[in-house]
Subunit: 195 residues, 2 copies
DNA sequence: ATAGTTTTACTATCGATGATAGGTAATACT
DNA sequence: AGTATTACCTATCATCGATAGTAAAACTAT
């Protein structure tokens, strides 16, 4: 019998491969923060991980595939960030904290925000596999909103627009700061006010 | 005496030059809509106006200078668009129409919206001369908002974020449509509600 | 009209970019 | 130990934005 049947995909080759990909992605984010998302050079990136440029094609079949991996990576970071936070308590408070946390997450890394919520790379469309992570996030967001009484499509649209607008202003005009994050409570109360 | 002293900078050379620049910009917008803002090829652009690539440098000293001209051109379009519209009437109605018109303007051309309100080109910063047009727009926006009672910085920030978020959602999820533009009234009433 | 000046546009070429071909060294499985 | 697969390399390609140098064209002034 096979004594390692209970292992979870741990053959040494794919372990090493995954670790290498993670390293490349980490350096890619660094380069993106330094030069801009659309200005990553594959030669620079390869050099940063001790490779020559064509060797990157062992791990990514094209530059757009690298962007897709960054897209998925960013959403995994966002979901992990939300996982370690607590959205219990009154629905209103939970929604305020959720909103504030999202703006803060965006503010922490403008380039990551760009990748997740804007679409600045010509020709890049996330694969369905990566986009599923984005959908998972939108599901969580609409759940928190629904708990606070936001059910109608128009209200959901407005909620999404407000969060998006606050995050964008925060990243664009006060990166790393709190000016728009501090508007979370006011924004949520505005959204929840009876009409 | 000089019988043409009352002319307003109409020497035939700069006339021709301005017309040529306008033609190049128009083709640049077309290419940007086709290939993406960051994917404009100077060879394609030159070909579209009957020139070879290096000849574009007669009119723009770099690709970033071309982007700067597009930035200024887009804001001139926006200001002209607002000029031909009427924002008299009650302050609330004016603000609703202003908001709806902005979202519609964004929706009409997603690439132009990107250029004016996002910053997707690595290395591009508008010149002070071009940025003055953006400031002119923000002045008009805050005036309409102020007339409706939006004075505090936090309220202005929130107003700007909401407009920006609505426009972005409209461009990203329903380009050319009205789904978020139709939320203008609801959004403005929300912003104007007493707290 | 003609001489002189400025503007416009060209060809040729540069370094850098993303991508591919083909070969070799390293690694893992039988 | 032998074999197959993966990882990585060098060399090279077309395309990109940019510059140098030159010729033609357009305008001005005499």
């Amino acid at each position: 019998m096979n004594e390692s049947a209970n292992r979870v995909a741990t053959d040494p080759r794919s372990d090493r491969r995954e670790a290498k990909i993670a390293g490349i992605l980490s350096e890619a984010w660094d380069l993106a923060r330094r030069d801009g998302l659309g200005a990553i050079s594959l030669r620079d990136l390869a050099g940063a991980v001790g490779l020559r440029q064509p060797s990157l094609y062992v791990y990514f079949e094209s530059k757009l595939a690298l962007y897709d991996a960054m897209f998925a990576d960013g959403y995994r970071q966002l979901l992990a960030y939300l996982d370690e936070r607590d959205y219990t308590g009154t629905p209103r408070d939970a929604l305020i904290r959720f909103t504030r946390d999202l703006i803060t997450f965006a503010s922490e890394d403008g380039v990551r925000y760009q990748m997740l919520f804007q679409r600045p790379i010509p020709g890049f469309e996330p694969t369905t596999e990566s986009f599923a992570l984005a959908l998972e996030f939108y599901e969580r967001a609409t759940t928190v909103a629904a708990n606070a009484g936001i059910h109608h499509q128009a209200d959901i649209d407005l909620f999404a627009a407000v969060i998006n607008g606050l995050s964008h202003q925060q990243v664009a005009n006060d990166p790393g700061g709190r000016r728009w994050a501090d508007l979370a409570e006011q924004a949520v109360d505005m959204l929840l006010a009876p009409r």
